[in-house]
Each structure stands twice: as structure tokens, then as C-alpha cells.
């Protein structure tokens, strides 16, 4: 269909000087990770947030920016209850995302 206009391709420039190989690997398994619009619904419903500051939104942002240590610290508080995936307006399967992160990233090497 011709609307008379097109959506321009993304012109985001990533100026972070971090090693993104692991994030790319995560993105391969979990393409939805780019769907996140950082709305924070997941964080506000998370029961673990109260105890450990866990927030899927923050974890995704932190991993993108290479702050893996911070992300791992938060992830260790997740109880896998699945509430975040139920409220996510973008339909991201956050529970599977969390499990994938737990497999790809490491605790020790930080």
C-alpha cells in the first residue's frame, strides 16, 4: 500500500565504547529485547523490586550499555514469578528473556 510516505530507516548511532558481543548473542536468541520501550510496567509490578531493586527495564538498559555487573546484581533477585511478562504492553516474554540472560551472562567474570 502506498501512503505517500515511508518510515525512515533507523539512524541511531551507538556511541558506547562497550563490548556488545554478548548483547548481540542475546539479541539473536531473544529478538524481542529490542522491542522494549522502557515503559517500566514490569518494574512497577515486580515483587522482587522491593527486596533487590530488580527491574527488567533497568536490566535491559544496563545490558545494552555494557553495565553487566549491575544487571547481574539485579537479576539475582528475580523470583521468576512471571508478572512482568503479563503486564508488558509490548508482549515481550520477559521470563524467557531472564532465563536466557542467566545462561549467556556470567556472575564471576565481572
Amino acid at each position: 500500500m502506498d501512503f505517500g510516505f515511508r518510515i525512515a530507516p533507523s539512524s541511531t548511532i551507538n556511541l558506547d565504547k562497550v563490548d556488545r558481543t554478548r548483547f548481540e548473542r542475546l539479541h539473536e536468541i531473544e529478538p524481542d529485547v529490542y522491542k522494549c520501550m522502557a515503559c517500566g510496567s514490569c518494574s512497577s509490578t515486580c515483587p522482587a523490586g522491593r527486596f533487590s531493586g530488580m527491574s527488567v527495564r533497568k536490566v535491559i538498559l544496563a545490558l545494552q550499555r555494557g553495565k553487566e555487573k549491575e544487571a547481574v546484581r539485579m537479576l539475582k533477585g528475580c523470583m521468576l514469578c512471571g508478572k512482568c511478562s503479563m503486564v508488558c504492553p509490548r508482549g515481550i516474554n520477559t521470563r524467557h528473556l531472564i532465563l536466557s540472560i542467566c545462561r549467556i551472562y556470567n556472575e564471576e567474570e565481572q
Partner: protein
């Protein structure tokens, strides 16, 4: 009767003997392997069960009912039940009577394995054997029973809808060889015995066949070839058996005593699990039962295919199938041999290695317990744990609290400002370590609070509290049970309206914990209760289950809509459930009100 041959032997018994030797060796080796791979305590338990007369009697009864008479199949589908039991039981009887005949008429041949099978070839009738007529009659009768079963099996192959099965599996090449050789065995036996009947004697079937043949065939010329063919069919069947689904026959005989001994799945590939996987005859009952089956793309992810892939060691597919399942437990509930599709999958998930392990040690249970502690005369009162899911459906928590207040029940909230998850979602993902840690933390809180009763409004929590927590002395109760008790004891009274309610059995509450009657009693007190098309243990999962790891919520619409269609068959005014997750899942697509049972009670009580 007298023997026809001095040697009691003919070359045609060889195929049968080779097949028999092969399958016996195979089964014995397999049995030793499975028993050896059991954990030590399970093995001990198994051996002890074999000398316990009570369990032994149950073993024999179960083997008789399940493997020979197929009682469970009968309950499901009469035609299917008849088909299976006629072949299994008929064959069993023929073998037993064959041995009795040998025992009576040729006791010195009893040690020859093949003699009872080919009895009529080796023996000849004489004047003194009128007593044998009785056995001849039984033999012919059971042969006829088997043949009728085989005829049904052939019809089923051609036209499976006739048996009320919408979908069945495609047999593999080996399965087909097994199938055709099995079909051939009994017609060939009939032919062989028919040709021999004027020498060996026979009854209504074989004798009459013999006289028919007599009119246009030289019987004795055809005798030996048909006995050869019969023996060959048996030999082929036994030799391909281990590579076909018919391996379920010997495996089930091992599975039943293991189950009765209390052995459970510990590892998805070894021991008890392996016995379950090989005991699956690929009957396909679980395909129609599975809620994922409404989408064509998921049919190959049902339990029968999990078993098939486990047998083939197809790792990629095993992982995929294990992660997709909703763990609703329906396949386990309907399976006639007792394959536990949900437990197999959780065991498979538990093998996975993760590099990040949750750690909840920073959670201070002391301060959480203080928030909900009982003191003085309130000690031993009700502690209400709403759970994570209920936090997403605040109307349930509000209704429960309102009912408790109106009924004058003194209670404390365990997770007023959010608490620790019960651990069931983590357990479903196969991560037993972190789940155990949550269980410990919650147990500390409950113990410290001084509660006497733990009230839950979520069946997911309820199940893990019942199964995995050790809270001796504290009663664990679901709100449906609690309300039922309040109504029965007269503490609360429900006003009866003419509203038509249909009740949805949540998987974790019904199949998971066996609670079916209490919620129905409560609803019936408040209005008119109607049933869904499939209910109780056949209830269809709402599709929202946390069991599935890979299905995103946007991919479950078809399942939810299918579950809703099932519920609205008898056009109720509203749908009642007792699970916060069902409630929020149904809410997305329902065309009429969906409520939790607590809301009904709250609205109708006075």
C-alpha cells in the same frame, strides 16, 4: 490325545524360538538397566515392595486391569477398550489354556517353550479325548475374540474418527512392520489350525473351517506352509518389537510395580522416566486432550511426541517440546498408562545449566514476619497469603478481605506490601535450588508469625504449599475450601439468585490438588451451577499458565478462546473461577463477565 511325532520337533518352530529368545534377552537386559539406573533409595524401595504382600497384590491387580483388560481405556471409549482388551486378554488366555493342555495331555513336553503355541500341530485326537473338547472350544472362542479385535484395529487404521479419536499419530516404518505382523499372527493361526483340525481336533471355528477347506483343498498339503507362516509372523513380531511402539507391552509390566513402589521421576532420561517413555503406546489420547492442540503448529509438541523424541534422542526437539508446554497436567490425567508429561518436562528443564543463580539471602524475613505477626489471643489465627498473581487482580484480594471481615474472621495479611513468591513458577522452570530458597524464606515468615491456618486465594501457591512446604501443625487451605466451610458451618449465609454460573476448574486446583467439590458447593449455594462441556479433570487450561517458558502471552489467544467456548456451551450468565491467573487470562477475550469465587461470595452474603 497322543503325540504325532516322536521328536516333538519340526523346523518351523525356529522363527518363533529365535524371536522369543531375542525379545526375552532384550527385555531382561532393559529391565536390569532401568533398575540399575534408579537412585539407591528408589531401588531399595522397589525391592522392598516386591516382598510386601499388599503392594504385590496391587501390582498383580493393576497389571491385570491395565495391561490385559485395559479398564482405563474402557472408561474412555468402549470400542477402543474392546479392541485392546480383546487382543491382549484373548492372547493371554490362549497362552494360558495352551499351557493347561500341555500339562494335561503331554506333560513331558512342558519344558519346550514352543509346544503350547503349536500344540495342535504336534498332537492328534483319539477316542479318549472328549474332555479336550472343552479346551478346544475355549481356544476357538478366544481366537474369535482376538480376531474381532484385529478386525476393529484394521477399521481404526482406515477410519480413526469411527473411534472418536480426532487425531492420532503417524506410525513409523518399524511400527508398521510390527503392526502388520501382529495383524497376521492370528488369521494365520486360524488357517494353520483349520488345516490341521481333522487330525488334531478342533471346535466350532477350526473344525468348520476344516470342512469348508476339505471341499476344494487338499488339507494336509497346506498344513506345513501355514504353520511356517504362523511361526514366521510371531518371529518377525518379536524381533521388531523393541523398535516399535509395541515395546509398551513389556515395559508397562515393569512400570506398574515401580509406580506402586512409590518410585518417581528424578531424571528425564533414566530410571522411572525411561520406563514411562517406553510404556507409551502412542495411543494419541493426549493429542486431543492438550490445550495447545488447538493450534496446528503445536500438535507435534504434545506428550506423545515428547516420548517419541526422547526415544530417538533428538535433543533439539526435546528442548523445544519441553519448554513450550503449559504444564496443565491434562495429558497426565488422561493417559491410560500413566505417562506424566508435565513431570517429564520439568525434569528435562532441571538439567539446564545457568551461569547466574538467584540469591535471596538479603531478604530479611524477620521484618516481614513482624508485619503480619499474631499476638495474644489472636495466636493461631488465619494468615492470608494473596500471592504474586493476586496482586495483579486486586479485586480478589479485596473480596476475600471483605468476606473475612464480614464473617468476623480474625486474620493477618502476609504480603500486604508484596511478599516473596511461593516458588512454584521457579520450580516449573526446573530451577529447584532457587525455588527451595524461596520455600525456606516463606516457611520462616509463616513460622515466626505464629499463624495456625494459612489461607491462599491462588491455586498455584496452594499446590506448592501443599506439596513442597513442611508446615506441620499449620493448616493450608484454599479460599474455595475456606468459604465452603464457612457456608456449611452456617457462619455465613449466601443469598440464592437465579444467575447461571459455570465453574472453570483451574488446573492447579483440580488436577493439581484434587479440589473439585468445594467450589461447586459454594457456587450452587449462591446461584444456579451449570457445567462446561469438559470439566473436572478434563477441564481445559485457560492458556495463561506460567508453565510454558517459550509461549509469549500474545501467542495464546487461540487456546484461551477455545477454553472459553468450552465453558460457554450451556450459555451461563457468567464464568466463575478460583485462580487469579485464569481470571486475568479469561478477562482478555471473554464475552461475558468473569469473576473469582470470592467476588460471588462477597456479593451474595448477608
Amino acid at each position: 490325545m497322543r503325540e504325532r511325532f516322536l521328536t516333538g520337533y519340526n523346523d518351523f518352530v525356529l522363527p518363533f524360538m529365535i524371536g522369543m529368545a531375542f525379545i526375552l534377552t532384550w527385555c531382561i537386559v532393559g529391565m536390569i538397566r532401568i533398575i540399575a539406573s534408579l537412585p539407591k533409595e528408589d531401588r531399595r524401595r522397589f525391592f522392598l515392595s516386591l516382598i510386601n504382600p499388599k503392594i504385590l497384590i496391587k501390582d498383580i491387580k493393576d497389571i491385570f486391569c491395565d495391561c490385559l483388560l485395559h479398564v482405563k481405556l474402557w472408561k474412555r471409549n468402549k470400542l477402543l477398550g474392546y479392541m485392546h482388551s480383546s487382543i491382549a486378554f484373548g492372547w493371554f488366555m490362549i497362552i494360558v489354556i495352551g499351557h493347561i493342555e500341555v500339562f494335561f495331555y503331554a506333560p513331558h513336553r512342558a519344558k519346550l517353550l514352543y509346544f503350547p503355541i503349536f500344540f495342535r500341530y504336534f498332537m492328534a485326537e483319539d477316542d479318549s479325548t472328549m474332555g479336550g473338547a472343552f479346551f478346544f472350544f475355549l481356544m476357538d472362542f478366544f481366537l474369535l475374540v482376538i480376531l474381532s479385535g484385529i478386525a476393529l484395529a484394521i477399521i481404526k487404521r482406515i477410519h480413526s474418527k469411527f473411534f472418536g479419536l480426532r487425531r492420532t499419530t503417524n506410525p513409523s516404518f518399524m511400527d508398521l512392520i510390527g503392526l502388520y505382523s501382529l495383524w497376521a499372527i492370528f488369521p494365520l493361526r486360524l488357517l494353520a489350525e483349520g488345516f490341521t483340525a481333522d487330525i488334531s481336533g478342533g471346535s466350532f471355528l477350526t473344525k468348520s473351517l476344516n470342512s469348508v477347506f476339505h471341499t476344494f483343498l487338499g488339507n494336509h498339503m497346506n498344513m506345513l506352509p501355514t504353520w511356517w507362516a504362523y511361526s514366521l509372523a510371531l518371529g518377525v513380531f518379536f524381533c521388531v518389537l523393541p523398535f516399535t511402539r509395541y515395546m509398551h507391552i513389556p515395559t508397562e509390566i515393569l512400570l506398574i510395580p515401580l509406580r506402586n513402589a512409590g518410585v518417581r521421576i528424578r531424571h528425564p532420561r533414566k530410571g522411572y522416566a525411561e520406563a514411562e517413555v517406553y510404556a507409551c503406546p502412542s495411543c494419541g489420547v493426549c493429542i486431543d486432550a492438550c490445550p495447545m492442540g488447538v493450534m496446528k503448529t503445536h500438535i507435534k509438541d504434545t506428550t506423545v511426541y515428547l516420548n517419541r523424541q526422547l526415544r530417538r534422542h533428538n535433543e533439539d526437539r526435546i528442548e523445544e517440546i519441553s519448554d513450550k508446554c503449559l504444564l496443565c497436567g491434562k495429558c497426565t490425567a488422561v493417559c491410560p498408562v500413566g505417562v506424566e508429561g508435565d513431570r517429564l518436562r520439568i525434569a528435562q528443564r532441571s538439567l539446564r545449566q545457568y551461569n547466574i543463580t538467584p540469591d535471596y539471602s538479603m531478604i530479611d524475613t524477620g521484618s516481614l514476619a513482624r508485619e503480619c505477626s499474631f499476638s495474644g489471643p489472636d495466636k493461631g489465627k488465619v494468615l492470608y497469603f494473596a500471592g504474586c498473581m493476586t496482586a495483579l487482580t486486586p479485586q480478589i484480594r479485596k473480596a476475600v478481605e471483605s468476606v473475612l471481615a464480614k464473617a468476623g474472621v480474625r486474620y493477618e495479611m502476609m504480603d500486604k506490601d508484596g511478599g516473596i513468591c511461593c516458588g512454584r513458577p521457579m520450580l516449573m522452570a526446573g530451577r529447584f535450588g532457587p525455588a527451595g530458597e524461596m520455600i525456606r524464606k516463606n516457611t520462616e515468615i509463616i513460622r515466626q508469625s505464629g499463624a495456625g491456618t494459612l489461607l491462599l486465594s491462588c491455586p498455584i501457591c496452594y499446590r506448592i504449599f501443599k506439596e513442597q512446604y513442611s508446615l506441620d501443625g499449620i493448616e493450608i487451605i484454599h479460599h474455595t475450601e475456606f468459604f465452603d466451610r464457612l457456608v456449611k458451618s452456617g457462619t455465613i449465609h449466601l443469598g440464592h439468585t437465579s444467575e447461571r454460573y459455570v465453574y472453570h476448574d483451574p488446573c492447579e486446583l483440580g488436577r493439581g490438588c484434587g479440589i473439585y467439590d468445594e467450589p461447586r458447593a459454594v457456587i450452587a449455594a449462591a446461584g444456579e451451577l451449570v457445567e462446561a462441556e469438559k470439566h473436572h479433570k478434563e477441564s481445559i487450561c485457560c492458556g495463561g499458565s506460567l508453565g510454558s517458558l517459550t509461549l509469549g502471552f500474545d501467542k495464546r489467544q487461540a487456546m484461551t478462546v477455545n477454553a472459553l467456548n468450552n465453558l460457554t456451551k450451556s450459555s451461563p450468565d457468567s464464568i466463575v473461577t478460583a485462580c487469579p491467573l485464569c481470571l486475568s487470562t479469561f478477562h482478555r477475550y471473554a464475552d461475558r463477565p468473569v469473576e473469582d469465587i470470592a467476588e460471588i461470595v462477597d456479593r451474595n452474603m448477608n
